[in-house]
């Protein structure tokens, strides 16, 4: 099977979506002529025209707000926010509007829309380009939040998102865009929204990550096995909302221990929700508190110091150790 990078998988999914359904359109800043600042939309405007792959003015609230109107009136927009850190500008349109159209109208109107946004640390970007803000949307009923950690899921989740009847926030870890290639089927396939995946099976500790921290968790699992012979199960949450509680509980019922890893700041992060659900669902199995290895509770730091701030393999391994020896 041919191997693609994540960014190629994202691009391919959009191309297939545009091909398969003429209601699909792509809009955002620099997505047209330029093909996106990361080339996610490379070649799409040339192929599908200016009306289906649209360079918008520089206005995030407008991008999301008009996408809502487009979706309500029969289109299937894929809107891009150039970096997740700029999604604050569109919070009202996402959390106050898109998330509530179905609810507000008791199902009369719906917003089948995808919002794509890259994010994530470790790549020396300017301010607000690296912030992990998924928690804001996980706390917003009415939107779904998905995050691929590899090229295969990237394509499958995006195709599922495009067909989903609800607004889906599709978050792209930019550090993984070109980090590696992997097998990606050529045909249309969907990775179901709402299902976590078990990346590595294990018995002693469950490591839970999403997006950029999945590779970190996998490496930590390897390191923990090498150093101490621990057998770590690694779960890729994949969908953050609605969350696959059953998968988390099932794993921790087996392992009795969990470490959750995310780049977002700790307090109020999705790790807290994961920990709370595990405690609620698997309390009697738990041998130690669910550990959280996350960004520290500061704004995302400048590039010169970001490596020390990010939840790296060493920190995860330490947490595994602490959890097992609790």
């Amino acid at each position: 099977m041919r191997q693609l990078t994540m960014i190629q998988a994202v691009q391919e999914a959009m191309r297939m979506a545009l091909e398969s359904d003429e209601r699909v359109m792509v809009l955002g800043e620099d997505v047209g002529r330029n093909g996106g600042v990361f080339r996610a939309t490379e070649g799409l405007q040339a192929r599908f025209g200016e009306h289906r792959v649209v360079d918008t003015p520089l206005a995030e609230s407008a991008i999301v707000g008009t996408a809502i109107g487009l979706a309500v009136a029969g289109m299937r927009p894929i809107a891009e926010i150039q970096f997740l850190g700029f999604i604050y500008e569109a919070m009202e349109q996402i959390a106050g509007q898109a998330a509530r159209v179905r609810f507000r109208s008791s199902g009369q109107y719906t917003v089948p829309m995808v919002i794509r946004a890259p994010f994530g640390g470790g790549v020396r970007t300017p301010e607000l380009h690296s912030d992990s803000l998924e928690a804001l949307f996980v706390h917003t009923p009415g939107v779904k939040v998905v995050m691929p950690s590899n090229p295969r899921d990237a394509k499958g989740l995006l195709l599922a998102a495009v067909r989903d009847p609800d607004p889906v926030l599709y978050l792209e870890p930019l550090k993984l865009y070109r980090a590696f290639r992997a097998d990606v089927p050529e045909d249309w396939y969907e990775v179901p929204i709402g299902q976590a995946g078990v990346v590595v099976e294990g018995d002693d500790v469950t490591l839970i990550g999403w997006g950029p921290t999945v590779p970190v968790a996998v490496k930590a699992a390897e390191a923990a096995r090498e150093r101490w012979g621990y057998s770590c199960e690694v779960i890729d949450l994949r969908t953050l909302a609605p969350m696959d509680t059953a998968a988390l509980v099932a794993s921790v019922e087996k392992t009795g221990r969990a470490v959750v890893v995310h780049e977002a700041v700790q307090t109020g992060g999705v790790g807290a929700e994961v920990a709370a659900r595990i405690a609620e669902g698997a309390f009697l199995s738990l041998e130690a508190p669910v550990a959280r290895v996350t960004g520290y509770d500061t704004p995302y730091p400048p590039p010169a110091v970001e490596d020390a701030w990010l939840p790296g393999v060493d920190r995860v391994v330490e947490a595994v150790r602490r959890t097992v020896t609790f």
Partner: protein, 362 residues
Amino acid sequence: MEIYAPGGPKPEYRVLNEDGSVVGRVPDLPEDRFIDMYRAMVLARTFDERALNLQRQGRIGTYAPFSGQEAAQIGSFAALEKDDWVFPSYREWAGLIYHGFPMDRALLYSMGHPAGAQAPPDLRVFPVQIVIASQLLHAVGAGWACQLRGERSVAAAFFGDGATSEGDFHEALNMASVFRVPVIFFCQNNGWAISVPVSHQMRSATVAQKAVAYGIDGVRVDGNDVLAVFEVMHRAVEQARSGGGPMLIEAVTYRLGPHTTADDPTRYRDEAEWKQWREQRDPIHRYRKFLEKRGLWDEEKESALREESRRSVDDAVLRAESHPKADPSAVFDHVYGSIPPDLARQKNDLMGRTIQGKGAGA
């Protein structure tokens, strides 16, 4: 150095003056359209007064009255077709009812019933918007969709003078102008945003001149002159339908009542100002005089209409109050297209408790 400097306000477009005499071009409409609009204005006023009463009696909740703005609303909705998209604010009941939105549903809205947000399926009316200026962007999107899909329909966004200060107003007008979207931005400048007068909301002399910022046309119309409003809106709709892009309309009008039933306008509003609008610039009075002068209306028709309006409103109240109670567990069904497992558990939890008769309420 040539400066883009704001001039003074241009005159408001008018067809009728305050006493109903014709001072402009009367739109070329069949007689029954003229009468229909009048009937709608009287019915709307009757509804509005009744709603205020119901609120005082505790039979409905917070309500935002529109009295004084009937001409602006009915004149503008009169230029729309049933399959045009409508994105209203919370104060658009006069226009919406004229457009076909059932009065009982309008009341259900103020009763806090979810059914109050649903328009009949043959209309493209969005739930009324609470968040100021948000709906302008949805209108741009819907109008854009019509353009892309080759539909004849246009979209219309309704909002107030206060809404023009929000960033979303700006982003919507800019976006619509860039893509020449068939959308009409219809602003009812009713002089106030709760307690803030329009002179404090902006330094520009008019809302209409803001169109210049977007390279589109802006028109200022006497919002208490239903024929002038119709004419301007009609022109904007035609332009949009024929691919000419968006337009900004400022209908200068006045809110005669409080901002909502929770508001006390005597705290901030001058009695004299209010009196002048109430007594000399009432939109219904003006239009009635016009119809009378044309021989289309008389006292007898008037009292029959008042009686009929009262009865329709009575019926609507009855229908609203006998509408099935809202089911609290139904809220779980409209969060997503299909209910996720954890949410289904939450629904069961609530149902279990309400069935046991143990309401929650703190």
